[in-house]
Symmetry: C2
Subunit: 139 residues, 2 copies
């Protein structure tokens, strides 16, 4: 990897004053044509180091705001996210990563952290899917 | 709409200290089965008022951090986003809205704000699509 290209890329992104940038993670769909069209799995935050490690290892790394530390997704669960492609938005303050998710993204066992749909009054709707793993056996 | 249901919903979300929550916006795909599987269009921010207006009008409203004001997407361009469904994430600090996007989401004219793909060295790749409108004629 060219360090200069990465430095130029980082300089062109708009990190928060805390040095973070939002990363949307979307499931890759095999054999699709055109733009990425998979399920949205999660939203997390990256610092420059997490982004650099993500690009060099092609596995998603984040900055955990709650734990205050770098975080390789899957390091505990084994549910790694292999990066297929990545994209920046028009004003450089959000990133989109298209990944192959092992097992499921959510710590609850659901495929996506966005498993809870609500209606237009704000009421939670019944969840129409089952968890893919038992969190008690994984964490 | 029940005010109580909305208040309970808002109380269960985790807004930032600035009173904001991240909203991922995804294109609706007609006739799909299962979870939403359209293109990710943009990431923006909502305050409680923007979320309430979005649910009551079923059109996406945001809080513009750069302009410091409430923002109905499409108010200038006519490119409204009609909400089909919405979802919260497992820890309540991010929302996902599935929408029917009029014309295109991005102010540049591209369908998605994430039109710019990069390679793993951080170099921008050629954009493989055309803008859907001419920004000079819309804004």
């Amino acid at each position: 990897m060219s360090t200069n290209a990465l430095e130029a890329c980082l300089a062109d992104l708009r990190f928060t004053t805390d040095g973070l940038i939002a990363a949307i993670v979307q499931q890759h769909v095999d054999g699709q044509d055109g733009p990425p069209c998979g399920r949205v799995l999660m939203l997390a935050w990256m610092n420059r180091e997490a982004l650099g490690l993500t690009l060099s290892t092609r596995r998603m790394h984040y900055w955990s705001r709650s734990r205050g530390k770098l975080w390789l997704k899957g390091e505990t669960s084994g549910h790694f996210q292999e990066v297929v492609s990545w994209h920046r938005d028009c004003d450089g303050d959000a990133l989109l990563f298209v990944v192959r998710q092992a097992s499921a993204a959510c710590h609850t066992g659901y495929e996506s952290c966005f498993y809870q749909q609500l209606d237009f009054s704000g009421e939670a709707l019944p969840v129409g899917e089952s968890p893919r793993f038992d969190p008690a056996k994984v964490y």
